[in-house]
Symmetry: C2
């Protein structure tokens, strides 16, 4: 089976839609127009660049450690972003979100989340607990106090954003958390995790978030995809912590992993029967980072340009990577980490759009997958005498139109016989 | 502090011994002779080489996958072994212990364990559960049946050896267990662990062993000393499995790790407040294995000779390694993996004795630590008017002699005021 066929076998399903008129009678023997509106599959990207734009801020946004294109550039990016992605990750890095204790950036992020929601985009918050970018003011507290403050922060964010942000990276990079040695300053979260252990730290994040919003989707997220993460996950599940999805980062600044390694990772982590979220995917369109770098943050270069050869490679890589991921039934979400090279993490040419605002080949390639190869083009189909029409398509939101009447419906493999009334 | 002083600071303690005569009166103002008989600290080595000798077998012992010197050679090794070591690891590799289902090698191993016990040696069994060297006959059973058979095997061994073997590696190398790919044949234990998960596999080993002998000491043992093992341990402890000691292998066929790395491992694993057992320590006295080898089993050479330079290096390494380990208060046991080069794992010159039976410099160096530097030489001391005498020494068993009278006593940091009656 070709990679493209493998994706279709996993992601496409058949439905028999029954179309009725406003009076309830079957819309029989009629040509109807079926159009896909949205993917169920979460095609994600960071929405950091649009926080200032969404808030209609006049000044440039405060500097964000993980980039952000600035307001003017963001305006040019909006349509490109919204044409491909349906899920936005917003930044809740604690040091940036609450630089002064007691003054969280809640309203600004609420405005950004609402802006995305109003455009049909699901918003995910990243992350509730992480050692990196813990606020400096936290270091003065004792371990017991830090634990209480972390619990409070988790409850506060989840509560303040219920209805706007209902998917969270509950905790980030726990494998390394108590042994991380690349922090210049004393870090209260590392200290706490070392004291109480990884599992109690995970439990506090998940339990507080769940309590604040029982309907939220909570992700355990890590970049360490070695056996260590498996061991951690098995401990978490054995301890009875309810994890909704396993988050797998895939920053590939050192080069695309290839199908075989990706498949091996998929198989190892699908073993737990939980949805897999590929949370942070990066493929650069310039020189690759040298393989001897272990912590990507250690690679600092003056300039890291996008090159024509690199852009072709990136486009090829992104198609191979997304095909491999979507061909695996456990994968529920893929979040690309950056729309533009402007302000990208490490200065890497990781965006799908160049710093000048023009789309790279990788943008077109990914759009080709999401909105063409994996998208049901508007299709005219005849209903039968009972108003039924067979549709084969990708899980998602659809419309059906007949004359002046229109209705929305969802195509899902677990609900193959939807029924609509035209209005 | 020098390494030697660091060991003394951790391992030496002061006791005030009160010596009484048979009638209960103080043995006052008398010169007594204090002699150390045994270390509390477990200086271990494998006892594989002596199984045939202990059973007074006429034929050569069945081939053991992890070496074994054969009976004749073993006879020459006995005194060298017993002069340094007080703890023997005996082989319970399932494929060798029960090559035909229902015909375990119980009596032969009981004889070997009794032989050691009669010589004052503590015996440890290795291992109860391990994927490597699972018997071929196990592969025909279903996962549910394999689990029942493994439980039965654990109960049987622990029960049959209670009083002879009360320390066990309950389970070996779980970090890699469900993902181990270096097995030529289908392996029922890997299959089971992949199905039920690492923690349930660990739990079954510990729970069955504990139930069979509540007084046994159960070790979780691994060669993978990365963060993965930390994550596994934290899951095991969180799941409430009672682990008595954390086992850390240190096969250093690729060269001595050095003090810094060893210290880092010690600190990371001491964090759990459990005793640390260095379970499988190897330092070669020949060429080092190339660093690119990941699974040591992949290194197969026709001949791997011991060399004069290698022997000097091994002697130096062993002193540095043991000093580093004994200077850490969490370490309770160190087991060197091999007395002789004869039949050593991988053919490596890892023994402390050459194939011809002569001790290497490493043997003399280790004996010098165990029986000289860390040993209270026979010492004459005067008692006071109340029969008291101050002794500073290493935790262990001692005698005190005055004239014809003698008594045994123990020097322990947690019981600094022993009292004896001469008999």
């Amino acid at each position: 089976m070709t990679p493209a066929a493998a994706v279709e076998a996993v992601r496409c399903s058949d439905a028999t839609l029954t179309v009725r008129r406003a009076d309830g009678s079957p819309c029989a023997d009629t040509e109807v127009l079926v159009e896909q509106v949205r993917h169920d599959f979460a095609f994600g990207n960071i929405g950091f660049d649009f926080v200032g734009l969404a808030g209609e801020e006049r000044a440039e946004a405060p500097a964000d450690v993980f980039g952000g294109a600035g307001r003017e550039a963001a305006g040019q990016l909006v349509d490109l972003w919204l044409d491909v992605f349906n899920t936005a990750t917003l930044p809740f890095y604690w040091a940036g979100f609450e630089p002064v204790e007691g003054e969280p950036d809640t309203r600004r992020l609420q405005a950004a989340a609402a802006w995305f929601r109003d455009r049909g985009v699901t918003v995910k918050g990243h992350p509730l607990v992480w050692h990196t970018l813990a606020p400096d003011w936290l270091t003065g507290y004792s371990d017991a106090e830090v634990e209480e403050i972390v619990r409070w922060r988790v409850r506060r964010e989840v509560t303040s954003f219920t209805g706007l942000v209902d998917v969270w990276d509950a905790i980030n990079e726990v494998v390394i958390m108590p042994v991380f040695a690349n922090e210049e300053r004393p870090n209260a979260i590392i200290r706490l995790c070392r004291r109480i252990g990884r599992l109690p730290t995970i439990r506090l994040a998940f339990e507080e978030a769940r309590r604040a919003n029982p309907g939220t989707t909570l992700v355990l997220n890590d970049f360490n995809l070695s056996t260590a993460y498996e061991c951690l996950i098995e401990g978490v599940l054995e301890a009875g912590v309810q994890v909704d999805a396993i988050g797998l980062q895939s920053h590939m600044h050192q080069g695309y992993w290839g199908e075989e390694r990706t498949q091996e990772v998929l198989d190892r982590f699908a073993r737990y029967g939980l949805p897999l979220h590929w949370t942070e995917t990066t493929l650069v369109s310039g020189d690759l980072m040298p393989p001897e770098i272990v912590d990507l943050n250690d690679h600092q270069v003056d300039a890291w340009p996008s090159t024509p050869e690199g852009e072709e490679r990136q486009a090829d890589d992104i198609v191979r990577h997304y095909r491999t991921l979507l061909a695996h039934p456990a994968v529920q979400a893929v979040t690309y980490w950056g729309i533009t090279d402007r302000g990208a993490w490490l200065g890497a040419p990781a965006g799908l759009v160049r710093a000048d605002g023009s789309p790279k080949p990788a943008y077109d390639a990914l759009r080709g997958l999401v909105k063409d190869e994996w998208w049901l083009a508007p299709t005219r189909l005849p209903t039968d005498a009972d108003g039924r029409v067979a549709v084969r398509g990708w899980a998602g939101d659809y419309t059906v139109t007949a004359g002046d009447g229109m209705a929305s419906w969802r195509l899902r493999p677990d609900a193959p016989t939807p029924e609509v009334i035209l209005a």
